[in-house]
């Protein structure tokens, strides 16, 4: 039953002994167990299983990584990195979950700054000089438990 549910969720499966090079598009979901080199574009979810490797750019709604990934990721909804995951590349998403033990190296844009396909929102954070006069900075760092 559990297998059937997984198959319904991820109708596309690239087996553990398979190597794929090229461009791939799918609608619902894909489970990658083997090796992939190229580009993935989808409106669904991608799962890179433990032991699998992906080399290339990915654009999907949800990306879950348990294996090794090298390349740029763009997810409209969420990116999840499990403890066994290793991701080297740039990341753009609305939500990011990184489990303890996972390795992530790259530039990240998460949340409101991540703007779908067009890249980043260029709106900068307020500059400190605008936030407070430089002549008399109001600084306050309170050690926990300190008496006022």
């Amino acid at each position: 039953m559990a297998d059937q549910a997984t198959n319904n969720e991820f109708p596309t499966i690239l087996g553990a002994d398979a190597v794929f090079k090229g461009e791939l598009t799918f609608d619902k979901g894909m489970r990658l167990l083997g090796k992939f080199e190229g580009q993935i574009t989808s409106e669904g979810q991608l799962m890179v299983a433990e032991g699998a490797s992906l080399n290339g750019d990915v654009k999907a709604a949800t990306i879950r990584i348990d294996g090794q990934v090298k390349g740029n990721m763009s997810a409209s909804s969420k990116v999840q990195l499990a403890a066994s995951a290793r991701l080297e590349g740039d990341l753009q998403t609305n939500r990011l979950e990184v489990a303890e033990g996972a390795v992530l190296i790259g530039r990240c844009v998460v949340g409101v700054n991540a703007k779908g396909d067009d890249g980043r929102d260029s709106k900068p954070l307020s500059r400190p000089s605008e936030a407070i006069p430089m002549s008399r900075p109001r600084t306050e760092a309170t050690p926990v438990g300190a008496k006022r």
């Binding site: 939500r95 990011l96 979950e97 990184v98 489990a99 303890e100 033990g101 996972a102 390795v103 992530l104 190296i105 790259g106 530039r107 990240c108 844009v109 998460v110 949340g111 409101v112 700054n113 980043r120 954070l125 400190p128 936030a131 407070i132 900075p137 109001r138 600084t139 306050e140 760092a141 309170t142 050690p143 926990v144 438990g145």
Partner: protein
């Protein structure tokens, strides 16, 4: 040669990693600051809670730092664990976990053991998670 340690006189002890030289020392549980026995720099061990605008050249502690909802830190931060509920601008280096709570904003690079970004938080920068930081000579 074994590294020198600052042995506490009785009582409980804890291990701290100097944010300057990244070397480990043993200190008394109640110590609030020490001079690192390796690099001789002053190391603060206290936990901090930032509740307003706070801009400094560097903000280094071995304890935990919590930037509250109304807190806005503009500084490079080195800490044990960092929780951001407000705004932070600067390079982050944590020996533990960096957590971006709901509505937390962080702009800067992160180097930490683990990272948690809650729904609604925003972050922009280069990250190095789970990679042992470079130990200077």
């Amino acid at each position: 040669m074994l590294p020198r340690t600052l042995k506490p006189r009785g009582g409980a002890a804890k291990q701290v990693i100097c944010p300057y030289c990244r070397k480990q020392s043993e200190v008394a549980q109640r110590a609030m600051s020490i001079f690192c026995p390796h690099c001789r720099k002053r190391v603060i061990l206290e936990d901090y809670k930032i509740t307003s605008y706070y801009a400094v050249r560097e903000f280094f502690t071995c304890g935990d730092v919590v930037v509250e909802k109304k807190g806005h830190v503009v500084a490079p931060i080195k800490a044990g664990n960092l929780t951001v509920k407000g705004k932070v601008q600067g390079k982050i280096s944590a020996t533990g976990t960096v957590k971006l709570a709901k509505n937390g904003t962080l702009k800067g690079d992160i180097e930490a053991a683990s990272l948690k970004i809650e729904d609604g938080a925003s972050f922009d920068g280069f990250v190095q998670i789970g990679v042992v930081p470079h130990t200077p000579e």
